[in-house]
Amino acid sequence: MLSLNDPMIKRSIIMDHYENPRNKGLVDDPRYLKVNMNSESCIDDIDIQILIENNIIKDFRFDGVGCTISTASTSILSELVIGCSVEEAYQIIKEYDNMIKEEPFNSDLLQEAVVFKDVSKQANRIKCAMIGFNGLLELLDSLKG
């Protein structure tokens, strides 16, 4: 597991995902579910697409404008959930939410996403750190009808 005590490693992970975001760029495919997310506390404006087949998240794409925290967290989320079942994705979102709220969480499930553990030090960036997770939650909830 990633050390929570090494700020330099955490910083380099955030910058790497900010400068080289994974799964960025939307696809023109009607099978994808799509949501637009924007934050009240930031000028983040991000579109998220997911492709679900047989209860498995086959793909997660995002694009738009965002600060370092929103871009990097959404990029890390995309890598975390591709290949997961819907239920596993819900669990990841829940653990992440716990971490941001400074409650006990399962760091093994969050992998690189633990770099955002201290985001609450900057209250205005909490929504940025949640934007991708909240978007995914909205898309997964929409499947329930």
């Binding site: 910058m15 930031c42 000028i43 600060c67 030090k121 205005n124 940025c128």
Partner: protein, 409 residues
């Protein structure tokens, strides 16, 4: 010459406050100003010593409340040089502009009429117009900006035609701090019988504003940006135009009489706009704030802010990692970015260093088209800020590339 040390002692928020374990540097004055003790105490005095409603009491306390409330109208009128009955109390600039759009324009404009705005305007001077344009099928036209971000007068003139009915424009832009030439614009507009609405939220706190000299038809500003309380603002309107403006607030205190046949007779302006119990404490606080500014002197405030702005710009220009978007205007607003740092990341970084600035699009969501950036950081100064605070700010700017420090302290 301002006695800054004395002034700073009058603001509780400037008394050794810290943010993220650093001394607080408050550079978000374009969003809201800090309040001196005299304003807070004046409001407390009302609640502690003569709490009662205005306009309707037969007892001494109410008479005192009424007198103090109404005397504010006179203080405001003198402050902007108009008559007492041309001062309407609102909740702020937003409500003032909405009152012009929904109270005046909705009742006096017709299909295909045109309203001229510009891309530097705050949401509160765009969205009410969009809404009534949709209702009445009006056309909204955007006047081009010059390189300083001011509305270009000759281009504006070319947009005017016989259908143009309103020009609504900020005196000072809340993002760029650029100042529009309102006097020239009203002169041109009045040759074509066009009504000029001025959003003066960023002007009235910082310089002498004289509505007669400007000859504007409506002018809106807020109390909380000029050391007054939140929840109180002013709409100035020429009296004949206020008479043509409908009230958005019908109820107690604004009617003269009504009967069961749906007849109602409203009071005259400004009272017909002020239905319901008004923000009495806030109005009293506003009076104190204006008295406070008058005692310091609006001209001195303006020249000191200009000095601070130029001091800051010269210092910032020595740094090679700062991009400034408005170095050539005199208002205390500095619009900038730290190169290669997203504006809101910079905002968090400044917070982590105890410096309060704004980042984003500052409610002027059309302006990025003009600046060609997604957003900016805005440091906005007021007369209680100091060169020492600017030095600290510039020092923090130098290290802006380390913005992730904000999360790993």
């Amino acid at each position: 010459m301002l006695d800054i040390n004395k002034i700073r002692k009058e603001f509780p928020m400037l008394d050794n406050k810290t943010m993220q374990d650093h001394p607080l540097v408050y550079f978000d004055n374009a969003a809201t100003s800090l309040k001196p003790s005299c304003v807070i105490e004046a409001m407390n005095d009302y609640y502690y010593n003569f709490n009662s409603n205005v306009h309707r009491g037969d007892y001494d306390l109410a008479a005192k409340a009424d007198k103090t409330y109404e005397s504010t109208r006179e203080i405001v009128a003198k402050f902007i040089n108009c008559s007492n009955n041309e001062v309407v109390f609102t909740s702020g600039t937003t409500q003032s502009l909405n009152l012009v759009a929904f109270g005046y324009a909705l009742n006096n404009l017709k299909e295909n009429d045109e309203i001229i705005l510009n891309e530097a305007e705050h949401a509160s001077n765009i969205l009410p117009w969009y809404e009534i344009a949709n209702k009445l099928k009006l056309k909204i036209v955007f006047a081009p900006l010059n390189s300083l971000g001011e509305v270009d007068i000759s281009s504006l003139e070319k947009l005017i035609n016989e259908k143009t009915k309103i020009i609504s424009i900020a005196y000072v832009s809340n993002v760029l701090g650029s100042t529009n030439d309102i006097k020239t614009i009203t002169k041109i507009a009045h040759n074509h019988n066009i009504v000029v609405v001025v959003d003066a939220a960023q002007a009235v706190p910082h310089k002498k504003v004289d509505v007669k000299d400007l000859d504007c038809d409506f002018l809106a500003f807020s109390g909380h940006k000029l050391c007054g309380p939140t929840g109180i603002g002013v709409l100035y309107g020429k009296y004949d135009l206020l008479c043509k403006t409908s009230s958005m607030q019908l109820g107690g205190g604004m009617n003269a009489k009504f009967d069961s046949c749906q007849n109602m007779l409203l009071k005259k302006p400004p009272y017909k706009f002020e239905g319901g119990t008004p923000a009495i404490a806030e109005v009293i606080g506003l009076a104190q704030a204006i008295n406070y500014l008058n005692n310091i002197g609006m001209d001195d405030i303006e020249s000191y802010e200009k000095e601070l702005k130029h001091y800051a710009i010269n210092k910032l220009k020595e740094l090679d990692n700062i991009e400034i978007y408005n170095e050539n205007n005199d208002s205390g607003i500095i619009a900038f970015n730290i190169k290669n740092v997203f504006c809101q990341d910079a905002g968090s970084y400044f917070n982590s260093q105890g410096i309060a600035v704004r980042s984003g699009h500052h409610c002027a969501k059309l302006l990025p088209n003009f600046l060609n950036v997604i957003g900016t950081v805005r440091a906005s100064l007021y007369f209680y800020n100091t060169k020492e605070e600017i030095d600290r700010f510039v020092e923090v700017c130098k290290h802006g590339g380390d913005f992730l420090d904000a999360f790993f302290k």
